[in-house]
């Protein structure tokens, strides 16, 4: 007998959408509780901070999945607009600020003054926040965010003072990072998403790109987003 054929992709997308909304509500209340919690050293505070980190991770992943689904179905309204970078980074940082505070991680920013660039703010914000969340996980106690214009392109660097990326990851390059690595639990989704979004930006001469490096002033890992 013929079963009606269900469109699994559509179910996945609508479920992701639904989950994203639930997580969003959860995230909101954790954030508010965290702001009101009195003792930064208390156990419940630390637990809540961990909860916030995890919900932010899930929320970020769900949004990336949903956005990739929209890309492939021509449903995403790609909309580049001019942004002032100081303000843009200020907002991106505000999303991770509670997490940084709760883990006593310091952040320094070095942003080219009076810098304006055209890009889709929601997409790039997603990449920067995700990269910072990731850096929070691997840093020892310090992050650095640098924004500068190099060779007619905007470069956003997120550096940490942790152990850096595994050599294998740097050798394989971005393109190889697809599918789940069951040893590390990494799906490669974040990097894949960043690479796709970067590609959507840029001029006829050069497309946007991402790359990973180790070293730099902080000696840890470094994620670089380049937008011509």
């Amino acid at each position: 007998m013929n079963q009606p054929k269900s469109d699994v992709a559509l179910f996945l997308a609508s479920s992701v959408h639904d989950m994203k909304n639930s997580i969003s509500v959860l995230q909101d209340s954790i954030r508010r509780n965290l702001l009101q919690a009195p003792h930064e050293q208390s156990e419940s505070y630390q637990e809540m901070s961990q909860m916030l980190y995890e919900t932010q991770r899930i929320h970020g992943n769900l949004i990336q999945l949903l956005t990739l689904y929209k890309f492939s179905n021509d449903l995403y309204p790609f909309h580049p607009e001019t942004q002032e970078l100081g303000e843009f980074i200020h907002l991106a940082v505000s999303h991770v600020a509670p997490l940084l505070t709760s883990r006593s991680i310091t952040l320094e920013t070095d942003i080219e003054p009076d810098c304006y660039w055209e890009f889709d703010a929601d997409l790039i914000n997603g990449i920067v926040v995700h990269a910072m969340n990731n850096a929070v996980h691997y840093t020892s106690n310090h992050l650095r965010l640098v924004v500068q214009v190099i060779d007619h392109a905007l470069e956003i660097r997120i550096e940490d003072n942790g152990q850096g990326f595994p050599q294998q990851m740097l050798d394989d390059g971005i393109a190889a990072m697809r599918g789940v690595n069951f040893n590390t639990g990494s799906t490669g989704l974040g990097l894949y998403f960043a690479a796709v979004v970067a590609q959507m930006h840029g001029s006829r001469q050069e497309k946007g790109s991402i790359r990973l490096e180790n070293g730099g002033p902080l000696g840890g890992g470094c994620f670089i987003l380049r937008l011509p």
């Binding site: 309204p77 909309h79 002032e84 100081g86 200020h90 929601d122």
Partner: protein, 552 residues
């Protein structure tokens, strides 16, 4: 410690937030208190925050009180959505230009970013709304308003040349809005018959990257030059690369219509509707296309959908009712058609709507063999025309004339069509449509003659003024032109020539306030009727020169 990064919000903005009044519109109590909480955290005065759970509540509050900032959920469950509340508030003048209307949505969709709704909010904010994001957004909106207020005002008073100048000035200093300013400037250039300048700007932008709005602009330049094939190629490629650029679909559909490819035009709009099902304007255009190509079932469906979608909208138009009545009438259901016209008359006031409805009513009777009723409708229509206080476009005039001709009111119908020809003596499309009306009334031969003599009459009337001007009799020339304008108030060439002669006179003899007003009206009417007339800008500049010389 976190090193603070600077925020664009200044102390001035903080001040504004502290003294502003707020309206929060959301159907969920939880969301309302969440948003209220965020507002308080931003520094808003808790006593200055009102909340509403739905459209009627919001409209009631907006009627009673002026709000500086409105936070409105896009999706409000049943009844009006956020967009329709904004439309109604704007339509009823409940919010001033200084009001910041922020739409809160769960996700970015084609509709929220590129919807072609007439009323756009000042910003969309994605949930979750945080204090930092909201503060920053309010600061951005205020800066933007500061940049655009004068420009919007100049456009509203149709002072296009000033608006263009302001765009240029502002773009030099306001880097965040520079691109938006350039885009608006190009739109204004096209609107004032300066396509060449717009084309140069678009082409310069497009040498380094594919910018969709510039590609769309270039297509519009082609359309204005009646290069429909070129426009078509550009738009097809644009849509291929940007599948959800709704404006491009509308433009492509228009191009196909110009090329006479009605099926392709409706296919294009059907694709746009897949992406954004809630635009009632687009549904209406689909209905009109379907009716024109004889696809009556499709037309009926589209018109019904238009009415349903615009039910809660303040911007609904009588056209959907008229279209549906025509369609249903053609489907041999006169009772339902009349019923629809009656509904329309309940919703809309005004002679302009009544007279259009009367013409449709007459046709419905005529089509369905009710000669006596058709006759009565035609007589009522004729009486309304005699009163002379209605305005109608060419299409409506043809519809009325068609009814008058088939019901034996030949003189009235003829006069109506003569006036249409004299107002548009060079518009081939309109002339052919008028010949069709004669043809259908069995008067093809007479039609050809009427078109010819009316065109000659239009030329004669205009030349009477021009000859006087050439002979140096300025005042006589002005008198003749004025006389001609009274007879052909929508003849673009005449309006421009009249303005030219009046300007010539004032440049020599000095300005007269009433004549200045007359020239301005003539020019603005001409521009409204035919925005591709390149003479408009030169004449407008001459007028401006005269007025600044005397009034400053």
């Amino acid at each position: 410690m976190i090193m603070p990064t600077p925020s664009a919000a200044t102390s001035n903005d903080a001040d504004f937030i502290a003294r502003s009044s707020y309206l929060v519109i959301d159907d969920f109590q939880g969301m309302r208190s969440m948003l209220t909480g965020v507002l308080k955290a931003c520094g808003a005065n808790p006593r200055a925050i009102d909340t509403a759970a739905n459209g009627p509540e919001a409209i009631q509050l907006l009627t009673k009180k002026r709000f500086d900032i409105v936070l409105c959920d896009f999706n409000l469950g049943h009844g009006q959505n956020g967009m329709q509340i904004l439309e109604e508030a704007k339509f009823k003048n409940l919010i001033g230009p200084g009001c910041c209307w922020i739409m809160v949505t769960a996700e970015k969709t084609v509709d929220t970013v590129m919807g072609t709704a007439e009323a756009q909010p000042d910003a969309y904010l994605l949930k979750p709304v945080t204090e930092a994001v909201l503060t920053s957004r309010i600061a951005k909106i205020r800066a933007k308003k500061e940049t655009f207020t004068d420009i919007d005002r100049a456009v509203a008073t149709r002072d296009y040349l000033k608006a263009i100048r302001l765009c240029e000035e502002r773009a030099a200093t306001d880097k965040v809005n520079a691109i938006e300013l350039l885009r608006i400037k190009c739109d204004l250039l096209i609107q004032t018959g300066q396509s060449d300048k717009a084309r140069q700007t678009y082409e310069k932008i497009l040498t380094s990257r594919d910018v969709p709005w510039a590609q769309l602009g270039l297509a519009k330049v082609h359309m204005q030059a009646e290069q429909y094939d070129a426009a078509c190629n550009l738009l097809e490629k644009l849509i291929d690369d940007n599948r959800n650029y709704l404006d491009a679909y509308d433009c492509l559909a228009e191009t196909y219509q110009k090329l006479g490819e009605h099926d392709r035009a409706s296919d294009t709009l059907e694709r746009a509707i897949q992406l954004s099902p809630n635009s009632h304007t687009r549904q209406r255009v689909i209905g009109e296309l379907a009716l024109r190509t004889g696809k009556l079932e499709r037309a009926e469906k589209a018109f019904r959908k238009t009415l349903k979608l615009s039910e809660h909208s303040a911007r609904k138009s009588p056209e959907a009712f008229l279209g549906l009545a025509r369609t249903v009438g053609s489907l041999a259901n006169p009772k339902e058609a009349l019923n629809i016209l009656e509904q329309m008359n309940k919703v809309f006031d005004g002679e302009d709507v009544r007279i259009k409805g009367k013409a449709v009513e007459g046709h419905v009777y005529h089509q369905n063999g009710q000669a006596k009723e058709a006759q009565a409708a035609a007589e009522q229509l004729s009486a309304m025309l005699d009163r002379g206080n209605t305005r109608h476009d060419s299409e409506a005039a043809r519809e009325m004339a068609a009814l008058l001709l088939v019901t034996g009111h030949q003189d009235k119908g003829l006069a109506l069509l003569q006036s249409e020809i004299m107002n548009n003596p060079d518009d081939e499309h309109n002339l052919n449509a008028i010949k069709q009306v004669f043809h259908k009334a069995g008067l093809a031969e007479q039609g050809e003659a009427v078109v010819e003599t009316s065109r000659q009459e239009a030329t004669r009337l205009m030349n009477a003024g021009i000859l006087q001007a050439r002979a140096g009799n300025h005042l006589d020339a002005i008198g003749k032109m004025r006389e001609a304008v009274t007879k052909m108030p929508r003849n673009v060439r005449l309006l421009l020539n009249a303005a030219h002669i009046m300007l010539n006179y004032m440049e020599q003899a000095g300005v007269e306030a009433s004549l200045i007003r007359e020239v301005r009206n003539n020019l603005l009417t001409a521009n409204q009727l035919a925005s591709n007339e390149s003479r408009f800008v030169d004449l407008m500049a001459r007028l401006e020169k005269l007025t600044t010389r005397t009034f400053t």
